[in-house]
Subunit: 346 residues, 2 copies
């Protein structure tokens, strides 16, 4: 649920569905905004999670299907992703993850131990993230009509009273923070497919980012304006959505974005931009300038947040655009992901 | 989510996943209870929907994946099923359906108009059922890794204060009611595949059963003991779950179960039992004997409930067993569905 419904959606004119429509970038946005959301009659803007009031309790709900290939990769697996991905959508929406349901689509012929491993991975991830698994469903399709297993998780949480997140609260001068190295997940999965002869020793970053959201809200409260987990489409796509939604410019100090050498190297070899590579355990946030340093300290104190960094700021110049600047003075416009260089990354 | 977690689950010893594991009968139960639920650490019994308390509000949450083949059939389509199926799981759990999220897995190469038709069907079904669609997700897999589209819907609703449903509240003498003809959906979908040369003029019964649940609760309040929508595995499987969960016997007056001649005829030809055929718009309920007639009247007054009937009663004889009796005095034990005669029926 990483797309945002706009007032004037671009029409969806493609005659068939292609891999790019699932990549989380421009094509996905066109499909969701130009076809799916209007026909479904989706109420309100689509964000990482949808707000909902039941009785007088504000809750958030989010759903995601996981189709990653291969099922297991260094640092994680589809089951772990399916839990963490949904926990993270709740966390960046300002909700406290509470409960999760999961629905499985199994391919006939899948070995029981494959399923067993993933159910165990889900159970472990849920315990680590502190979310209760309360129910599920299982369907089986014929051999050749799926790819081992697909997992859909839906999470609900209570809105955190400390949170007052809104793109419209973003102000010029606000700072942009990320919690760690970007691109690890996407490049790890790509290399795990074995199509490219490269061993970078990388691991997926899959984890719950709730501890980071919690630390930010505890430190900066309502001065945390906006949070997102930059999955499909990477940091570039999340920041473009931010720029579009707040109507301001995003100035990215590209050299301060934490990127491992192995990820940078693989991207150079493959003609990819690390800013477009999926993450599964990072959070990007906008906070008021006056609390940015404390917020950064708070992120760095969270285990696994040692590489957190301030990577940019909000500007009145170049509205609705992401501009990456370099220390030597160069600047380039950073677009959303176009096409799908990394299919089925989550 | 039509399975029920028991204290002593049967071990799951099969080495691979087969179609029967998704059929909703005995094999599904073994997979869920013997492997999935324990490893996921699922809290509490699995029913059609899981209860959850957020703040001081009681809510229900349910999730289901839909993989029906073909995507469209007389009387409905996958999109309509995906909405009604989830609405119905909430309704029979004693919840008032409030909001729904949907996650799509699309096969690359699927024509846009196929997706368009299903999104429109979902939107229409949601409006008819009075449930808000609040968000979703879209993934795309390669051609040959899915079958057009799979839809997972998750619904949440508020627990209805009129409802006090529990299998343990079921008492000897209680009556069993169904809302209409059984087996229409399963046989319609089977015939729509064109494998069998038979044109029965049947239509799927897919619809929201919430109006029936509402009518029962309004009429009989807490004397409505138990409700279920008999989907995969049919009425027989739901009643076996009831017998098992309440520890009493279910006596089914087989001649009073509404079955269309066309469904009966097709079942005879195919060697199937109408009691095992999936329904997508029926509700089966247990109510106190003293309110059974008023409850039946209430069901019949709901548009589409004209064929509602009292079909059986709860007995102390044959505990944990479903026995079908005939007017000539014959009786037979009705088991849960075994195997999968009708794969991918929802």
């Amino acid at each position: 649920m990483a797309t945002v419904l706009r007032p004037r959606p671009a029409a969806f004119a493609d005659v068939q569905i292609d891999m790019a429509h699932g990549a989380g970038g421009k094509a996905s946005r066109r499909l969701v905004e130009g076809l799916i959301a209007p026909l479904l009659g989706v109420c309100g803007p689509l964000a990482d999670a949808a707000p909902l009031v039941l009785g007088d309790v504000g809750i958030a709900i989010t759903t995601d299907s996981f189709v990653v290939r291969p099922l297991r990769f260094p640092g994680g697996s589809i089951g772990e992703l399916a839990v963490n991905g949904t926990v993270n959508d709740l966390a960046v929406s300002g909700a406290v993850p509470a409960a999760l349901v999961c629905s499985l689509i199994l391919e006939a012929g899948t070995r029981t131990e494959v399923l067993q491993d993933e159910m165990r991975a889900m159970g472990d991830a849920a315990r680590r993230a502190g979310i209760a698994v309360v129910g599920g469903d299982t369907k089986v399709v014929e051999h050749g009509k799926a790819d081992g297993l697909y997992i859909t998780t839906t999470g609900v949480g209570r809105m955190d009273p400390r949170a007052g997140l809104s793109a419209s609260a973003v102000r010029p001068g606000d700072r942009i923070l990320v919690t760690g190295h970007i691109g690890d997940h996407g490049i790890t999965v790509l290399l795990a497919r074995g199509d490219i002869d490269l061993d970078a020793g990388l691991r997926s970053d899959t984890r719950s980012v709730y501890p980071f959201a919690d630390a930010l809200l505890e430190t900066a409260g309502s001065k945390v304006r906006w949070m997102r987990d930059p999955t499909r489409g990477g940091l570039a796509t999340s920041l473009n959505e931010l720029a579009r939604d707040c109507g301001l410019g995003v100035v990215l100090d590209e050299e301060s974005v934490p990127v491992r050498d192995e990820v940078r190297g693989a991207c150079e070899l493959l003609g990819l931009d690390p800013l477009h590579i999926a993450n599964e355990g990072q959070l990007v946030a906008v906070v008021g300038a006056d609390v940015a340093d404390q917020a950064l300290d708070a992120l760095r104190r969270v285990p696994g947040g040692e590489a957190a960094a301030i990577v940019g700021r909000i500007s009145v110049t170049s509205p609705r655009t992401v501009v990456a600047v370099a220390s030597y003075g160069g600047a380039r416009v950073v677009d959303m992901l176009v096409g799908d260089p990394l299919p089925r990354i989550c």
